[in-house]
Symmetry: C2
Subunit: 340 residues, 2 copies
């Protein structure tokens, strides 16, 4: 009944504890064949390392950093709250997660920040920042210095770096499908509103959205993306302009994570026929919109899941363990007012 310990393993393999330990931790100083024998015995007697004991002995603690933009919307606020929340659970596991906010606009600042990180003090960084050559290089350098990195929500991955977030192309396609189906046989134009189309996630969503609409709903016509740049005046202007020049807008796809601004403006400008509105991310605002019927559907990713997944992945990589792939796949969730 008792699970075999390193002692049993040492005895079974006919080596000492020290050697077993070296094999288990991939340390040098053990002959090839000895390594093989030990591994065979691990299989044979079903040895499983006791993580509690290992962590205790290492007296290892893990410090993870979430690097996110300084200026943000409600979704970002939610994400930050989830990091704090995750911390309460992590603490009993000798892990800590912190948030650092940074001006996303300047790639150099991001690179500098990453370069300044001390591998002694930080074990992993989850980065949510627009892609740039500088950031990519800084991340690669970080990994060389022994700090794990994962890309969060958007941005590019390089090498064996992991991406934590939804498949944005599929998310866009999902939005497209819902739009098409909810509109049934109505014909008209679709407005697509983003904060900026420079971000990879926005581009991918747009691509997925277009693919479905163009393939299956020829009676719908997707207009060029409008960019708000987070500016109320600009938003109002481009929206008014578009609504004025197209009388037959029957659907609006808000593909950024900040639905608030464009939605308020749209409500204010009142297109004649109520368009189907599909937005991204669950925030107090979009939730209220869904409840009131202003928004017809939300495509979301659970920020709590994102945070926990990022932590689990960084932790596993620190320990050179495998993760459960199925657990780390972030779901594209569809929210209606019924399944809020």
């Amino acid at each position: 009944m008792m699970r075999p310990t390193t002692k049993d393993l040492a005895k079974a393999a006919g080596v000492s504890l020290a050697t077993v330990d070296r094999v288990l931790n991939d340390r040098p100083g053990v002959r090839e064949d000895t390594v093989k024998i030990v591994h065979e015995m691990i299989e044979k007697i079903g040895f499983i390392r006791n993580l509690s004991a290992a962590n205790l002995a290492r007296s290892r603690s893990y410090r993870f950093l979430f690097l996110v933009p300084r200026t943000g919307d409600q979704f970002l606020a939610e994400l930050i709250a989830r990091v704090a929340e995750a911390n309460t659970t992590l603490a009993s596991d000798m892990s800590f997660a912190e948030v650092a906010q940074i001006h996303e606009s300047d790639p150099h600042q991001i690179a500098d920040y990453l370069s300044a990180l001390d591998p002694q003090a930080v074990d992993g960084v989850a980065i949510m920042a627009p892609e740039s050559p500088q950031a990519r290089d800084a991340k690669a350098q970080l990994r060389r210095r022994g700090i794990e990195t994962v890309t969060l929500i958007s941005g590019q991955t390089s090498g064996d770096e992991v991406f934590v977030g939804i498949d944005n192309h599929a998310a866009g396609a999902t939005a497209g499908r819902l739009m098409g189906r909810f509109l049934a046989d109505r014909r008209g134009k679709l407005m697509v509103i983003a904060e900026t189309m420079r971000a990879r996630d926005s581009l991918e969503r747009r691509l997925g959205f277009d693919e479905i609409i163009n393939a299956d709903y020829p009676q719908l016509n997707v207009l060029p993306s409008l960019e708000t740049h987070g500016d109320p005046d600009r938003t109002e202007r481009v929206l008014a302009q578009t609504l004025a020049s197209h009388s037959d807008i029957c659907g609006i796809y808000l593909l950024g994570s900040e639905a608030r601004l464009p939605l308020q403006k749209v409500a204010h400008l009142r297109p004649e026929a109520k368009p189907i509105i599909i937005a991204h991310e669950r925030t107090p605002f979009t939730e209220a919109g869904l409840r009131s019927g202003q928004i017809d559907a939300l495509i979301t990713q659970d920020p709590g899941h994102l945070v926990r997944s990022a932590v689990r992945i960084m932790r596993a990589r620190c320990d050179r363990r495998e993760v459960l792939a199925s657990q780390e796949k972030i779901r594209i969730e569809i929210l209606l007012s019924e399944n809020l």
Copy 2:
């Protein structure tokens, strides 16, 4: 930087390690005021118990049982596979999960099985079984004997027992909303097919479905639920009968977790106009149906998440810890072919 240990706590509170331990574990033999002082110092110095060390010292292992029906569909198979998968991760944490299958039809057998469990050998049971007074009493008795219980997927909860699964009423409502929206202005009858309507989850789904259709889609008419009882012949008979007497069936809601049988029969019987089909649970079969377009949407709950959540909850209750409520809430997922 170093996290305070029991030693620091003992020093701070002016007591010995043993006393600290007694306070931490609610053991008797410590004066009221001493307990209070220790608790105050815990707050003051920010002591957090190191779970790894605690479990190591206790040399505690956890054994959890998943009690599921003997006869089952692909969803059940998936669930069982997830338990096995979870085991690989749990092992390093000194936890084990096992599956026990039982004839769900006989409440007495379930009760007997539960009564026979040894608290020495089992720490928690996740039960997926139809509700019955016998089962409820057996569960209550189990908890009294120190075995944690959670109710999985369907069934009633009593006392402070936790339910792990989706809100079936909301799931039915979600199906109803999708059905209504996908059908747009089409008018006609809706077929509802279940394995049995005796299970609470089926009833709740039906209720939620009806609520939405009746409130918002008066042009649709929900027919009485058809029961398959898992019998191919019976399924074909009732389906043929219904299709024969109603020429205007425009939607089918499959509210059981076994969509396979009715779907095959429907495909075979071919209603004239392609109805919108909404089913529950993701299985290889329903996934293929969604891809091919036979099924229009799936309402699902992730079996991996169910299993892990059940384990986390049982584990937390064993350790008298709080769980992260937001993590344990099982999402009602909507699957289209785009976000599979």
